[in-house]
């Protein structure tokens, strides 16, 4: 919201202050509060997926344990570490923005992007393996070993798996977009200790993506 021209009614504003805010403190607080409310709706959006997981697991406990064996714990763990690392680099990027160091912001954003792409690459490897052997959601499910031993709807686990990781992956993709935007703005030297809430909000978003994964990983991969 920072591109609107200031100086509408008398006062001299810095270029990044929108005309309807009285001062930067108000603008920053509003931006951050708005972001938190956005994260709130993200959490409730994911709540539906977690509820779907919980109820299907409740109905088919045996299937859940059996089907989860088909996931690759190592891949999942590596991906967790990749995402945690990108979360750290993002936090450091925000810190650099707080200090007004645009160069470092861009560098940390680049590091975060590397993590995000790494996550997607590993996810891609996992997906392509599953697609190859027929561990697919819903009616596409075609994995003989499980359908022979387990008639309790084994496809449901993979429905839930693909919906959860898919929606999460979509968030990663969106994250890549906004982090890239922040990186470009940092290269343009947009940020200063007074004006960094865009970096901070993107950071908050990225940490939430991380936060969701922190729960997805054990629920899908680890709980035997």
């Amino acid at each position: 919201m920072s591109t609107a021209a200031g100086a509408d009614h008398g006062h001299a504003h810095p270029w990044y202050q929108a005309h309807h805010f009285k001062n930067m403190e108000q603008q920053n607080a509003a931006n951050k509060f708005g972001m938190w409310l956005f994260l709130v709706q993200e959490l409730l959006f994911f709540a539906g997926l977690f509820m779907a997981y919980a109820s299907m697991r409740f109905f088919y406990p045996g299937t859940w344990l059996e089907a989860a064996e088909q996931l690759d714990k190592v891949m999942g763990a590596v991906n967790t570490i990749v995402l945690l690392t990108s979360s750290l680099t993002m936090a450091l990027g925000v810190r650099a923005a707080q200090l007004g160091n645009n160069g470092q912001v861009a560098a940390w954003c680049a590091a975060t992007l590397a993590g995000a792409y790494g996550f997607l690459v590993i996810k891609y490897l996992e997906y392509s393996h599953k697609i190859h052997v027929g561990l697919l959601p819903g009616k596409w499910f075609d994995f003989k070993e499980l359908t022979q031993t387990n008639t309790d709807a084994p496809q449901l686990f993979f429905s839930v798996y693909f919906m959860m990781t898919g929606v999460h992956g979509l968030h990663v993709v969106i994250g890549i977009g906004v982090i890239f935007w922040i990186m470009l703005r940092a290269l343009r030297k947009d940020f200063s200790p007074e004006n960094y809430s865009a970096v901070e909000n993107v950071g908050l978003y990225w940490h939430l993506v991380d936060l969701i994964w922190i729960f997805l990983f054990p629920l899908l991969y680890l709980v035997r």
């Binding site: 709130v40 709540a47 406990p61 763990a77 967790t80 707080q98 939430l208």
Partner: protein
């Protein structure tokens, strides 16, 4: 935008609370350790209930670390913390009440409670 008791060189700044670098690295280290712990526990072959309890506890600790330090909730305006917790509260109400229905089906009437699998459906059709 206030900070009162951070470790290290804590000072008021236009950029809000500046968390010292070592804190970030310490949090990151703790997250890595916890990830290793949770993976290790999964190989111990605990029964499902204990396994999921441990996994969720570890995840909650990790989430708290990310929320408090990476997301600055520890130093943030209290209302933002409240907002975050309110979201968790409403999520919880969604889980608890829905799950209460699923779990209590059949407590009053046995037949109502049976969740018939689709394979039973086929049998019943025959």
């Amino acid at each position: 935008m206030s900070s009162s008791h951070a470790i290290g060189h804590d000072h008021e700044h236009a950029g809000g609370h500046i968390t010292p670098l070592p804190v970030y690295f310490a949090v990151y280290g703790a997250l890595l350790v916890l990830t290793v712990v949770t993976v290790a526990v999964s190989y111990m072959g605990l029964p499902p209930l204990q396994s999921i309890t441990v996994a969720m506890l570890v995840a909650m600790v990790k989430a708290t670390l990310v929320g408090a330090w990476f997301m600055h909730l520890k130093y943030d305006a209290k209302f933002n913390v409240f907002t975050f917790l309110a979201a968790l509260w409403f999520m919880a109400s969604f889980f608890v009440f829905t799950f209460y229905d699923l779990a209590s089906r059949g407590m009053v009437n046995e037949v109502t409670g049976q969740h018939v699998l689709h394979k039973d459906m086929d049998e019943q059709k025959k």
